[in-house]
Structure formats: structure tokens, C-alpha cells
């Protein structure tokens, strides 16, 4: 690994390591006590800390959503007033995006699974990883203080000049999100270096799991886009504190410039949220179809293509905002180009299922739900990318429904697929398959009931962020509210069987799904240092036609006491990139 020149094959002596079933010692009980958890630099535990945090914020954001939906049952005020409503929808958006979606798959699942999938002992900078988590925590504390000292009512987009004029606590909130951005940046830095430098012997770029490719693309976006959000929010903070006048028209600034800067981050941020979901879905579909993934390179490169083109399309949020017609045309054209790699992914997943051996376990069920809902999200995105139609649909409930189909129908379903898929690896316990499927179906029904009517009322002209609305939309709003409550029931059931699994779940085997991927070739829960050996990779992660024994090769650790080698010579390509 040490010299980049050694990219040719070399002979390595390996032996087979079968993962230990139901190990007594694993990462969860390696260190004990709250303090050990708070100061852990183990990427798996940090992943779980993130998982706990995002679960909390998903709960908070979800409760706020129910509050909104309940208020919208009637056209006029029913139990909260307009100011509260405006604060609630702002918080719902800000919390769901900055505190839940952005860190969900990358920071929570990604932290847990990335080093396992690379055959590494940890991420490249474990202490930085812990620091990211604490930066996230500090950001959330600032935000919570902001909520309790005046709240914020600007919408999660913080558009100037409203955000420079409103009396609410914009300063603290944006500062909290400014801090949060650094957590995202540092996680991105960590992941890119880890993927480049810490791959196990033999894990060449063409054998990387697609989840790793997706996380790689995500990290690149995080690193390139988040700093622009940081400077934008800093300028906004300065605008409020000093009145620097770059964005505020009353002192000579240009509010549309703020929108450019904001969406330069926030559009790619949509891909920060959805691209890692693509990775999870690729893993799940291949595993539960027990079949080699169709079009490996097409899926891997389309993630990178989406990441790149995603940077060129931010202005489609501004078709009616007063940007030049030329800019609108360019942005619309580029927007449609993103549709192509996205479509390629969907077709590749379908082709992977073709002639597979499909096991409709809960993760696969969520992946199917993802495919359906995300496809709707994608098609409605085409609708919104079209200049003439967007003029009518812009800032209506159609947009609201569209991004919920992408973010919730896409990303949250992918997160749930991943959570169910890797749950046994995380906790060494199985959950109730029966209840998992039930809750999946309930969430699916509730989701569609909540958001399909929003497409209709949106195209009929119902604007978003409306506290009062005209009577003709009431039926749609009521359906939507009922759907939201059904969804909530699904999540309550999920919480129930997940907690049951943690407390009384059946022990999981090392590889309950029969996957070929590397994270399943170690015990469940994983050992403290991930593998008792240094894994050696000779096959791709989806080579279901190769025997399982070829996926369990490794070199004995210098410290783990394995003395007897079953000597097997394999040719291993050096993992080092040709630099």
C-alpha cells in the first residue's frame, strides 16, 4: 500500500476467515459507560450517535408537520395563529433538512458502514469524526436556543429582505446552521480521504460497493457546496448585524443575489440528501435479488454525473424570481440533463431484478417503495423544470408535493431500507419481519394519501406556506392531513418493533441476507476493530456467482494471535490508485 508505483498484481498469502457467529465481544460492549460513548472515536458508535440524533430530529420535525397538517384541516385559523404557523413550517423545513436529511444517510449510516465496506478499521480521521458530531451538536444547541428566544419565521430558505427585516431570531438560527455546515464539510473530508487511502488490499476502484461510490459523490458535493452556504449565511448574519447591504435592497443590495448563493448550496444539497440513498438502494436490490448488479459503472458514474450536473442547475428555483431570461433558459436546459443519469439508475435497478431470486424482506420492500415514489418525484421534477409550466406551478403545493416525494419518498425510504438492511449488523438483533412489512405498507399508504392530493391542489393554484386558504382546497387538505396521521401510525409501529428488537430481538447471524458484500463477512455486531483480520478482496461485491468462501479471505492481523495459516496464494491488485 505504501508506494503508488506498486499498482501491478502481487502475490499475497491469505486464509479463509469465517465470521464468528454471536460473538461475546463486539464493538457495543468493548467499552462501557456514557463517558465511553461520548468520547468514542469508533466510527460505528459515532454512526449510532448520529442515528440517535437524527431519529430525535425526525420525531421533532414530524410532530411539527402534524401540527401544520392539523391546522390546515380548516381554511381559517383553528388552533394556532399565523405567527406560530409560520414559525412551525420554518422549523419543520429547517430541522428536516439541516438536522435530519443532510446528516441522515451520510453521517449516520455512512459512518457506520463505510469503513466496514472498505475493510478498514476506521475512517481516516477518527477524532475529526467525533469533532464533526460535536460540531453538529453545538449547531443544534444554537438552533434550539434560537427557537426558544424568539423563534424564526423566514422559511428554511432565509430569503432576503424578509430575513433581514423580520423581528424573529434569524441571527442565532443562521449561525447555528453555519456551524452545522462545518460538521457536514468535515464528514465529507473524512470520507473522501478514507475512500482514497484506506481500502483493503485488492479493493480496487472497480470493486467498490456502489454505496461507497454514492457516498464518495455525496462527500464531493458536501465539500464543494457547503462552504458557499457558510459564506452566504455569514453574509446574512452580517447583513442583520451591520447592514452591509450586499443582499438587502433597502441599503442598495440585491436580494436575487442571495437566492443565487443560497441555491448554489441548497440545490446540490438536495443531492447530498438523495445520492447516498441511491447507494443504499443499489446494495439492497442486489442483495435481495441475489444477483450481480446490472450496469455497475453506469450506476457508479451516474452518481458522479448527478453530483456534477447538480451544481449547474440551481437557478431552476428562480425561474420567476427575476433572474434574466437567458439564465432561466440555461438552467432549464441543464436541469433536464440531470434527469438522464437518474433515469439510468432506475432502469439499471429494474434490470438487476430481472431473473433474480427476489426475497421481499422489509429492506427490499422499502426499496420497491423507493423506486415507485422516487420515480413520481422525478417525473414531477421534469414538470417543474419546464419553464412554461413552472411559471404556473412555482411556489404552489405542487412543489411541496414534489420535494416530499423526492426527499421523503426517496431519501427517507432509502434510509429506512438501509436501516432495516444493516440493523442486524448494528445491533446483532433481528426485528419482526411481519411488523416491518406492515408498517412499510402503512407508511406507503399514508404517504401517498398525504402528498398525492397536494399535486392536485398545487396545480389548481394553492400557494405554499399559506396559513389560510380558499375553501375549494379544503377536501384536498383534509385528505392530506389524514394521510399524515396514517403515516405517523406507521412510524409508531416501527418504533415499537425496533425497540422490541433491541431489547428482546432474536440474535442475528453474521450474514442473515446471504450477501456477498464485505460488511457481512464479519460478525454481527461487528468487532471493535471491524475485522479480526485484514480482508483481502478478489471479487466484486455483487459477484453472486462466486462461492461465499472467496469473499472471506484475509491476512492475519499482527496482533490478533492467529498463527496457523491455511496458505492460499491469490493475486491481488494493489488498492492504491495510480497517482
Amino acid at each position: 500500500m505504501s508506494t503508488p508505483e506498486a499498482s501491478t498484481t502481487k502475490k499475497v498469502q491469505v486464509r479463509r476467515y469465517k465470521p464468528e457467529e454471536n460473538p461475546k465481544e463486539h464493538y457495543l460492549n468493548a467499552e462501557k459507560g456514557v463517558w465511553a460513548w461520548m468520547t468514542t472515536i469508533d466510527h460505528k458508535k459515532i454512526g449510532l450517535l448520529y442515528l440517535g440524533s437524527i431519529t430525535f430530529f425526525f420525531f421533532v420535525g414530524g410532530m411539527l408537520a402534524l401540527l401544520l397538517r392539523t391546522e390546515l384541516l380548516t381554511p381559517a385559523q383553528s388552533f394556532i395563529d399565523a405567527d406560530v404557523y409560520n414559525q412551525v413550517f420554518t422549523l419543520h423545513g429547517a430541522i428536516m433538512i439541516f438536522f435530519f436529511l443532510v446528516p441522515s444517510v451520510p453521517a449516520a449510516l455512512g459512518n457506520f458502514i463505510l469503513p466496514l465496506q472498505l475493510g478498514a478499521k476506521d475512517v481516516a480521521f477518527p477524532r475529526l469524526n467525533l469533532a464533526s458530531f460535536y460540531i453538529y451538536t453545538i449547531g443544534t444547541i444554537f438552533t434550539l436556543i434560537a427557537i426558544f428566544t424568539g423563534g424564526i419565521d423566514t422559511g428554511w430558505t432565509f430569503y432576503t429582505p424578509y430575513s433581514t427585516q423580520t423581528g424573529t431570531n434569524v441571527l442565532l438560527m443562521t449561525f447555528g446552521i453555519f456551524i452545522l455546515g462545518f460538521s457536514s464539510i468535515l464528514t465529507g473530508v473524512n470520507f473522501i480521504v478514507t475512500i482514497h487511502k484506506l481500502r483493503a488490499p485488492g479493493l480496487t476502484w472497480n470493486k467498490l460497493p456502489l454505496n461507497v461510490w454514492a457516498l464518495y459523490a455525496t462527500s464531493i458535493i458536501q465539500v464543494l457546496a457547503t462552504p458557499v452556504l457558510a459564506i452566504t449565511l455569514l453574509l446574512l448574519v452580517m447583513e442583520r448585524a451591520l447592514g452591509i447591504g450586499v443582499f438587502d435592497p433597502s441599503i442598495g443590495g440585491d436580494p436575487v443575489l442571495f437566492q443565487h448563493f443560497f441555491w448554489f448550496y441548497s440545490h446540490p444539497a438536495v443531492y447530498i440528501m438523495i445520492v447516498p440513498g441511491f447507494g443504499v438502494i443499489s446494495e439492497v436490490i442486489s442483495t435481495f435479488s441475489r444477483k450481480v448488479i446490472f450496469g455497475y459503472w453506469a450506476i457508479a458514474l451516474s452518481s458522479l454525473a448527478i453530483a456534477f450536473i447538480g451544481f449547474l442547475v440551481w437557478g431552476h428555483h428562480m425561474f420567476v424570481a427575476g433572474q434574466s431570461s437567458l439564465a432561466s433558459m440555461v438552467f432549464s436546459f441543464l436541469t433536464f440533463l440531470v434527469g438522464i443519469p437518474t433515469g439510468i439508475k432506475i432502469f439499471n435497478w429494474l434490470a438487476t431484478m430481472y431473473k433474480g431470486s427476489i426475497d421481499m424482506k422489509a429492506p427490499m420492500l422499502y426499496a420497491m417503495v423507493f423506486l415507485f415514489l422516487f420515480t413520481i418525484g422525478g417525473f414531477t421534477g421534469i414538470m417543474l423544470g419546464s419553464l412554461a409550466v413552472d411559471i404556473h406551478l412555482h411556489d404552489t403545493y405542487y412543489v411541496v408535493a414534489h420535494f416530499h416525494y423526492v426527499m421523503m419518498g426517496g431519501m427517507v425510504m432509502a434510509l429506512l431500507a438501509g436501516l432495516h438492511y444493516w440493523w442486524p449488523k448494528m445491533f446483532g438483533k433481528m426485528y419482526s419481519e411481519f411488523f416491518a412489512r406492515i408498517s412499510c405498507v402503512i407508511i406507503f399508504i399514508g404517504f401517498n394519501l398525504a402528498f398525492l392530493p397536494q399535486f392536485v391542489m398545487g396545480s389548481q393554484g394553492m400557494p405554499r406556506r399559506y396559513f389560510n386558504y380558499i375553501d375549494q382546497y379544503q377536501a384536498f387538505h383534509q385528505l392530506s392531513t389524514i394521510g399524515a396521521y396514517i403515516m405517523a401510525v406507521g412510524f409508531v409501529i416501527m418504533a415499537g418493533y425496533m425497540i422490541h428488537s433491541l431489547l428482546r430481538g432474536k440474535p442475528a447471524s453474521a450474514n442473515p441476507w446471504g450477501s456477498r458484500a464485505m460488511e457481512w463477512q464479519t460478525s454481527s455486531p461487528a468487532p471493535h476493530h471491524n475485522f479480526e483480520h485484514i480482508p483481502v478482496i478478489i471479487n466484486g461485491p455483487y459477484d453472486y456467482h462466486k462461492p461465499m468462501s472467496e469473499f472471506q479471505l484475509g491476512i492475519a492481523h499482527s496482533t490478533n494471535g492467529h498463527q496457523s495459516f491455511e496458505k492460499v496464494d491469490v493475486n491481488v491488485k494493489s488498492a492504491e490508485e495510480k497517482a
Binding site: 464543494l224 443575489l257 443565487h260 451544481f311 437557478g315 427575476g322 433572474q323 434574466s324 437567458l326 490508485e577
Partner: protein
């Protein structure tokens, strides 16, 4: 070993002297008043040369892994995207003027 290039002291001093000279040059060209927009072009060109020298020889990118160069180029490309497409808007706005 790509990461452990050791420059000689003489070389580092040479680089610094070139940079000092270019700094002097960039100030000096303002005395001869090059017309717009070429004054900006010259100033930026000198700055780019200086930055490239710093990056290549002080930051050792010249001897470093090529991926790090790619990273740097990427950051510049994405900055160009940010400013380039934003200018597509800000330079081409045609606002109506009320007739009364």
C-alpha cells in the same frame, strides 16, 4: 515518495525572490495606466502566476500526488461555475420601465 520532497534553501529563496519581483511588477504596472479592461486582466494574470508559484513550489504540489492537483483545479472550476452562471443572470437582466 511523493509526499516528502525536500527543497533546497537556495531554491526556496529563489521562489520568494521571484514572488517579490512579481509583487513589485503588479504595483508598477498601475503606474503606466493600462486602459480598461486590460488593467484588470494584467493584474489578475500576475496574481495567477504568483499563486501558481506558491502552490507549486511552496506547497509542493509540483511533486505531490496528482489527485491533490485535481482537487485544487476542481475548487477553481466550481468557483468559476458559481460566478459564471451568476453573471449570466446579473449581466443580462432586462427590467421593464413603467411608462407612467
Amino acid at each position: 515518495m511523493s509526499g516528502h520532497h525536500i527543497s533546497s534553501a537556495k531554491f526556496l529563496w529563489g521562489v520568494a525572490i521571484v514572488l517579490f519581483f512579481l509583487t513589485f511588477l503588479t504595483v508598477a504596472v498601475t503606474w503606466i495606466h493600462i486602459p480598461e479592461p486590460w488593467n484588470v486582466v494584467v493584474a489578475i494574470a500576475i496574481a495567477v502566476v504568483k499563486a501558481t508559484i506558491v502552490v507549486a513550489f511552496f506547497m509542493n504540489l509540483w511533486w505531490d500526488s496528482r489527485f491533490n492537483t485535481i482537487l485544487l483545479v476542481m475548487s477553481i472550476v466550481f468557483f468559476m461555475i458559481l460566478i459564471g452562471i451568476t453573471l449570466l443572470d446579473t449581466l443580462f437582466r432586462v427590467d421593464p420601465i413603467p411608462t407612467f
